[in-house]
């Protein structure tokens, strides 16, 4: 499994810690629950377990590449918050919830594993830990027994509070894991995770609370009836993710027009976009900024299409500054005509500007994304496809020489780190 590898430098990765903690919790829960008289209301446990397993089967990838199983998560939260079932008290313990959820997740994920589409272990682990948190607060402390006999309104309020806290915990664990792998600042990653959670997360949380409340009257029928609306939400997200992916694939493909036309070296725009995004992540950019950066990096050479004669090798780094600026402006004009990518156009337009001028401070009109593309583009023009260590070192050294005006030192620093990290991963 991909997520279960310790870091090459010997330390424990966040993914490993989270996965191990979840595995430990799951084993304890299953052992305790499997003891004689350990399982309370096996029929309800089985129904919710089946629901969670099916939800896990219908897992989706959210825009931005996050794995999610909205239906499974909603089902798990509902089982965690269940106080009454067809007007009978539900007194199953916290560990039983964890055990049922863990087993159901394993069952639901098995077909994916067989088909070679296994989700990374840490996303599963994270979801189990979040459920563990919810039952820890709600069931283990006796809060659940307290609200069971209170009015419906109070019960609903408590459930909403717990669901919100659970989603927050989930985002924090996700951010901790991601910050470790991407080398990005924790605060920036947490902001990204929280933003990604707000939409689908609140729908999942509300559905979980709704099912828990409704099951007191409707019993098992709450599950099949109310899975349909959440499916609808999930469907919209899936289509959204699909069109986002399609946009990226299309821009990647069309960005190769400059290569086919002989204007740039093959693979140049792809390499520039990959390294730019790695640098942007390192510098703590938000998901939305990273997407704009990726688009801009892919299309940064599109202005060259309007040149009659290609620049030798397509290396804009060797062209005169005024010519570089003109090409950048032409590219920005093309992109601006879309009417929807103004941010991207600005980034492309400013990519040829120095980040500061003589006797002046940092030029704030040059966006961080433009500075990244400027430096990464120069680096790739110098290194090319070869990727030999000497050329990489020489190229970085040349960028460092240009740090006074041309290349933002923060960007060059982060770039060096990003290159080092990718070298470590391939090693």
């Amino acid at each position: 499994m991909t997520g279960l590898r310790a870091r090459p430098d010997g330390g424990l990765s966040g993914q490993f810690v989270v996965s191990a903690a979840a595995a430990l919790l799951a084993v304890i829960a299953v052992v305790v629950t499997a003891s004689p008289h350990g399982l309370i209301r096996a029929d309800v446990a089985f129904a919710f377990g089946a629901f969670i397993a099916l939800g896990e089967l219908a897992r989706i990838t959210l825009p931005g590449g996050r794995d999610a199983a909205p239906i499974a998560t909603a089902g798990a939260l509902a089982y965690a918050l269940l106080t009454q079932f067809e007007q009978q008290s539900m007194r199953h313990g916290a560990l039983q919830v964890v055990a049922v959820v863990a087993v159901a997740m394993l069952v639901g994920v098995t077909p994916h594993v067989v088909a070679g589409r296994a989700p990374s272990a840490d996303t599963l682990a994270r979801r189990l830990l979040a459920v563990g948190f919810a039952v820890g607060v709600f069931r283990a402390t006796g809060l659940g027994d307290l609200v069971r006999d209170s009015k419906g309104f109070v019960e609903a309020l408590v459930m909403v509070a717990i669901v919100a806290a659970t989603l927050a915990v989930d985002a924090i664990i996700a951010a901790a894991v991601r910050a470790g792998t991407d080398g990005a600042p924790f605060a920036a990653v947490l902001r990204n995770e929280a933003r990604a959670q707000v939409g689908i997360g609140s729908a999942i949380g509300a559905t979980g609370a709704l099912i828990a409340l409704a099951a007191s009257i409707m019993g098992i029928w709450a599950l099949p009836v109310f899975v349909i609306p959440l499916l609808l939400t999930q469907f919209s997200f899936r289509r959204y993710a699909a069109i986002r992916a399609t946009s990226l694939q299309t821009i990647r493909s069309l960005s190769r027009v400059t290569e086919l036309g002989g204007y740039t070296e093959s693979g140049h725009s792809r390499r520039v976009s990959e390294l730019s995004v790695a640098v942007g992540r390192e510098l703590g950019m938000s998901d939305a900024e990273l997407l704009d950066l990726e688009y801009a990096a892919l299309m940064h050479d599109i202005g060259q299409l309007s040149l009659t004669e290609p620049i030798p090798g397509g290396a804009t780094v060797v062209a005169a500054p005024a010519e570089q600026r003109r090409i950048a402006g032409l590219g920005a004009d093309v992109i601006r005509q879309t009417g929807v990518l103004d941010g991207v156009a600005t980034i492309v337009e400013r990519q040829a500007e120095p980040y500061r001028r003589a006797h002046q401070g940092d030029d704030l009109a040059v966006p961080l994304a433009s500075r990244i593309i400027k430096a990464v583009n120069a680096y790739d023009d110098l290194v090319g496809e070869s990727g030999s260590v000497e050329r990489q070192r020489d190229a970085l050294e040349r960028l460092r020489l240009g740090m006074a005006y041309e290349y933002d030192p923060r960007v060059v620093d982060s770039m060096a780190k990003a290159i080092e990290r990718s070298a470590r991963l391939t090693a």
């Binding site: 419906g152 009257i217 609306p229 959204y240 069109i243 027009v257 036309g261």
Partner: protein, 461 residues
Amino acid sequence: MDPLPLRARLYVIAVGALALPLLAFAIVRGWSSISVVDLAFLAVLYVISDSIGAKGSRDTVTIALGSVSAMAALPLLGGWGAIVLACSTAFANDSRPLVKRFFNTSQLVLAAAASALAFTLLGGKAISDDSFPYLILPFCVALAVHCFVNGALVSGIVHFAADVPLRHVWHGTIAKSVSGYVGYGLFGLLLAVLWSPRGAAVGPAAALLVLLPLFVARWAYAQYAEQQDAYDRTVRTLIAAVETKDLYTRGHSERVAAASVLIARQIGMREDRVASLRYAGMLHDIGKLGVPTRVLQKTSKLTEAEYAAVKLHPVRGLEMIREIEFLGEAFAGIMHHHERLDGLGYPMGLRGAQIPEFARAIAVADAFDSMTTTRSYRGARTAAQALEELRRCAGSQFDPSMVEALVAALADTVWQDQSEALFDQTAPEWDDAYEQLPRAQFDHDDPRASETHVPSQSSAQ
């Protein structure tokens, strides 16, 4: 806005004449049994959903939002209450003309009445301890009835007002919103269960909990729609940028896409395939970037070797965009858009039915646009002349059914005559720079180009 045609006015009056007495009867008959507090809260919810729906009226999901309160009313207020509730939509805060509002409210009253009838006949009652599963069947049937009556009445008004065939209205807008309608209608049942004092007893606050997933779904859908729109614009712009390389083809891809869509709709192609075909039309010549500019802009007749280079462009195009997974069927359209029915086309020399449907449609659209735009070696032909030429080549180069589809589609549509439109952009006396540019003697999309380059023994066929 145009005044409604007489037929549409009569239709509105007829629907209103059915709805008003029904409403009056429901008020008299049901008033004593309806909980006024619940009615008021549901009415507020209904008005809010309906106002939101009216603003983004293109968005099929928002249209369905109102079905939450409409359906929740059945178990909460009873059948009479549901009918009374429907009239609250008359107070929705929107800018629609009075007649539309009147029609909308009348049709919702009728839909509510029909669904209440179905609900009651199947034994649907207010929420109680033993409601489940017995309530689900009457509720679902009532929802289906509500959806059907609503859809049918709305189809009617679109049919009469805009003179669109009923079948098209139903398949176009109504069928698309059914899934949303049904999904949100089920939320109505959840709302009733949570709200009812004999249910989970959360009270009107339950509406907040129920609405949250709804708004998220709506938001997700809006994001999707926005992204789809952004995607279309981006593709179009990038293609336009690419076309600047080749002076002949300004706007060509866009027009070929449009003509392909005309053909596809005429032969009754499914909408998702039409969308795919539109992208195929848009991207069909993208591979020309791989053909040396020198050849594309050559002023003398092409040698066989140069023509061979041109013939590679469909394959090149496919290579370029193969990564764009969703295109699917469009790949075949791009790859084979220069095949000929008699097997003499390129790149593979496919014959007749071997040629994918997409490719046969694009081939016709492509040639049509080539002929109706100005080329240096000939002026633009009129649409009528071009269609005549297409008919001449039908059976050998083109699929006759596609040609006829284009002829029929153009009879219904106003095709902007490109001979004039493009003349404005590139008229030599207007644009000195254009005058100095090299003029190719050849457009690979022109049906005559295909004929001159076909091996000689076959041109007798």
